[in-house]
């Protein structure tokens, strides 16, 4: 038979091509028939569609963000330890965390006997869900906010607090005393620090009169002196300490203190279920950093507004059929253009080496050109970059703290929250309210 003589690739093609052809035809027919109705439905339910798209995109970006943060943590702490850290996989070891993720995927997913199976299985899902759901309200840029609804801040605290439920579930269901201790520590700590966390932003809510994160960011428009970190410094300090505890980061990582309770709630987890906890932790770090930069560091606002307004308008549609041609030819011409001087400059450089170098240079130059153009011309890009710079500066601070500080003891930690942070945040609220009253008169 002809089938037997086909290579594997050929077999795949032989199956795919008819399927694609039939599927394409059917889709065309369906679109032609019901297209108007579908478009009308989408148009009528735009918020729902927008929500679905936003959640999918949010879910998808959470994984690379976690990979990036894990790599940052490995590398930065290594450098602070006077080590080199990951350096083998990818440039400067950058792909190391992805490989870790793959390793976690491939490991045995072991469910110990005598655990409470449904709860044990659901716990990592709940934790991960809680952390990436909060990503929805992060205002990356004025135009790039997934769900900029009015109760954003409240939603954030509510959903963020939900991850404790997952940790408790993990701790309880594991049938392990370390897990139990870890889960209960996590719950106690999160509940204690929720209060100063929430109270510390009340001052800002009083000042701005809104709970919507994009509006809070918009309220900090102007120079960097308008940022709330300078207008509410006490709140910023309290908030920073509280989010450190919320994200279970050193010096408040008691829930998984490996010197004391091995791995806390995650002790009995292995494989990808452990991976979910691990990812959720780093997504959490990213989220709390983003929140801090949105609320206190002006979010997507640049520190100083420089009013340069170069109009680099490129009307791509004017090119007509020339656009695909240019898009096809430009890389080849550019590569040759950059390769030629290298090849002519030295006789030791082989042709292919010059070509590769030319391609890389062309890639760099064109990316830079497009990037600069986008930064200048597209406000969301500039805003996003400012936002990410601030966020990652905070992430760096978190990693830096992890590289420096020892762990606080659980009772000192709780005492600190109740005895110091809570009164301080209340004081901040009263001071702000008083100031608003005075100024308002």
């Amino acid at each position: 038979m002809a089938w037997n003589r086909l290579t594997p690739a050929g077999r795949i093609l032989a199956v795919l091509l008819p399927v694609l052809a039939i599927g394409g035809a059917l889709t065309t027919v369906l679109l032609a028939t019901f297209g108007g109705a579908i478009a009308a439905t989408i148009g009528a339910n735009l918020p729902i569609v927008r929500f679905l798209v936003a959640s999918v995109v949010t879910f998808l970006i959470s994984v690379p963000v976690a990979f990036l943060l894990i790599y940052m943590e490995m590398k930065i702490i290594a450098l602070m330890n006077l080590r080199i850290g990951p350096d083998r996989i990818g440039p400067a070891g950058a792909v190391m965390s992805v490989v870790h993720g793959l390793k976690v995927l491939m490991k045995e997913d072991y469910t110990p006997p005598s655990v409470d199976v449904p709860v044990f299985t659901l716990a990592p899902v709940v934790v991960y869900l809680a952390s990436f759901m909060t990503l929805l309200v992060i205002p990356f840029a004025p135009e790039l906010t997934s769900m900029g609804f009015e109760l954003g801040l409240l939603y954030f605290f509510a959903i963020g607090g939900l991850s404790v439920v997952g940790l408790m579930m993990a701790g309880w269901s594991s049938f392990n005393k370390y897990s139990l201790l870890g889960g209960i520590r996590a719950a106690a700590q999160a509940i204690s620090y929720e209060i100063p966390l929430t109270l510390s932003v009340v001052g800002i809510v009083i000042l701005t009169g809104t709970l919507s994160l994009p509006k809070i960011v918009a309220a900090q428009d102007g120079s960097f002196l308008d940022w709330f970190i300078f207008r509410q410094p006490l709140a910023a300090i309290i908030f920073f300490i509280a989010i450190t505890a919320e994200a279970n980061r050193t010096p408040f990582d008691n829930a998984e203190a490996d010197q004391e309770i091995v791995a806390g709630f995650a002790t009995e987890y292995s494989g990808m279920r452990f991976g979910f906890f691990f990812f959720a932790e780093y997504v959490n770090v990213f989220i709390v950093s983003a929140l801090f930069s949105a609320v206190f560091l002006g979010g997507s606002n640049p520190p100083i507004h420089i009013d340069v307004n170069p109009q680099i308008l490129i009307d791509l549609s004017a090119l007509g059929i020339g656009l695909p041609l240019i898009a096809g030819i430009a890389p080849i011409v550019g590569t040759l253009l950059f390769a030629a001087p290298i090849w002519f400059a030295s006789s030791r450089v082989k042709g292919w080496q010059a070509l590769v170098a030319g391609f890389l240079i062309f890639g760099g130059v064109s990316t830079a050109a497009v990037g600069i153009w986008a930064f200048v011309m597209l406000p969301p890009v500039a805003s996003l970059i400012w936002f990410l710079i601030k966020t990652f500066a905070l992430v760096f601070t978190f990693v830096w703290m992890r590289g420096t500080l020892p762990r606080a003891r659980i009772d000192q930690l709780m005492g600190f929250a109740w005895k110091w942070l809570l009164p301080a945040s209340l004081l901040n609220i009263f001071a702000t309210a008083f100031a608003v009253l005075i100024a308002g008169r």
Binding site: I77, M80, N81, L82, R83, S114, F175, K177, Y178, L181, R185, T250, P251, D253, N254, A257, D258, Q259, E260, I261, V262, R402, G403, T404, L405, P406, R407, A408, R409, I410, D411, Q412
Partner: protein, 403 residues
């Protein structure tokens, strides 16, 4: 489906499947104390730590009875690293026995060999050449620094700081490499011989020592700055596990742990051996007796050790490093106790000779063994996290404890 159930030995109120035995320690009490320990009151449970646990400093198993996070009682279980060194030494001749004592305490093995060598030299009335004595002092002090820097790292690690241990290992690695250039080995030096040392100082060692000395003090000081004044570290250790002088003496505590309680007991000064009487150094003591004091006393000792090394390098005489001895050593029947002041306390060896070429009995006393007894009394009433801090501050090494 009815499954046979039975009450858990761990907590009698919990019913578990009758055929499951694997998650319970299930010990049967053998003594009064153990029976008391195994009785659980309302709200208490056992938490088993070790033999594989991130902060038990080796293969130590600690059964902790907790009430919530509060430690009610604890029972260390030893023997996971027991090698029967004393018995092996009884079946080896005097030279070979020294080799067995090396791996007892892998963090500071020079002290472990210094003690039996001292005992054997007393048995055989050997005079050690002065140069060899200076070399011994030099290498022992280097080893003390290596041990204390490592202690600093471990202490911080047990309290959750991950950086100091790696900085500490940089210092320790340099010392270890230096000693390897002198003795030939990195961990189990086997360098001291009855009547001297195995090999004179060489150029390799001296050049490494010189470069290290030129920056050691500053580097160690700068490492200390990371946690010595750190509020979190200080708050976690100050007032924790307070050991007063009287209890310390009764418990047989020696070394920095005793000096942190205010008793200036240091063999190097109180019962001088080698050339220590000729050297000038202080015995740092503190009165608090808490974990922080134990930590700080060790850090002060590093500075004194550097001072001693400096003096030794200046005053080292020329001469042989080995006394003239017969190949086969048959000391007269007798008894001797050799003791040295190590980084953890008194390392002692009680050797009995019966006139043959093998020790009749060789008793090895290790300070960590005594100090580990204190973990229970010092942590009662504190939190689980404090157990780690107290254990780290006592600085036991399981290789020495388990012999």
């Amino acid at each position: 489906m009815t499954q046979q159930m039975r009450p858990s030995l761990d907590d009698p109120r919990v019913a578990i499947p009758a055929d499951s035995t694997w998650y319970e320690p299930a010990p049967s009490p053998q003594t009064e104390r153990q029976a008391e320990f195994l009785t659980l009151r309302e709200g208490e449970m056992f938490v088993n730590m070790g033999p594989q646990h991130p902060s038990t400093h080796g293969v130590l198993r600690v059964i902790i009875k907790v009430n919530g996070e509060k430690v009610v009682d604890l029972d260390p279980v030893l023997g996971y690293l027991h090698r029967g060194v004393e018995k092996l030494c009884e079946n080896a001749d005097y030279h070979q026995a020294i080799c067995y004592t090396d791996p007892l305490e892998y963090v500071s093995s020079l002290f472990c060999e210094a003690a039996p060598v001292a005992a054997f030299e007393k048995l055989m009335d050997v005079d050690v050449p002065r140069r060899a004595q200076y070399i011994r002092v030099l290498t022992m002090e280097l080893n003390r620094i290596a041990s204390h820097t490592l202690f600093q790292g471990w202490m911080a690690l047990d309290l959750g700081g991950i950086t100091p241990i790696l900085w500490a290992f940089i210092e320790r690695d340099e010392i270890v490499d230096m000693l390897a250039a002198l003795t030939g080995q990195k961990l189990l030096y086997n360098y001291y011989r009855i009547g001297g040392v195995n090999g004179d100082l060489n150029h390799e060692f001296m050049s490494r020592l010189g470069t290290w000395m030129s920056r050691a003090a500053a580097q160690i000081d700068s490492n200390l700055a990371l946690i010595n004044e750190n509020e979190i570290f200080v708050r976690r250790t100050r007032g924790l596990g307070v050991l007063d002088a009287k209890t310390a003496l009764k418990m047989g505590v020696t070394g920095p742990n005793l000096r942190a309680s205010g008793v200036p007991f240091d063999l190097r000064r109180d019962r001088p051996y080698l050339v220590y009487p000729e050297l000038e150094f202080d015995v740092p003591t503190r009165d608090e007796g808490d974990s922080l004091a134990r930590y700080l006393v060790r850090m002060d000792e590093i500075k004194q050790s550097i001072r001693i090394i400096d003096q030794v390098l200046h005053e080292m005489p020329d001469g042989p490093v080995m006394a003239k001895l017969p190949r086969l050593l048959r000391p007269r029947p007798g008894r001797a106790f050799g003791a040295v002041e190590g980084p953890r306390g008194v390392y002692g060896t009680y050797a009995i000779s019966d006139g043959t070429d093998q020790p009749f009995r060789m008793r090895i006393h290790d300070p960590s063994f005594v100090h580990l007894q204190l973990v229970g009394p010092l942590t009662k009433g504190n939190l689980i996290a404090d157990t780690m801090a107290v254990m780290a501050s006592l600085d036991p090494v399981m290789g020495g404890v388990d012999k």
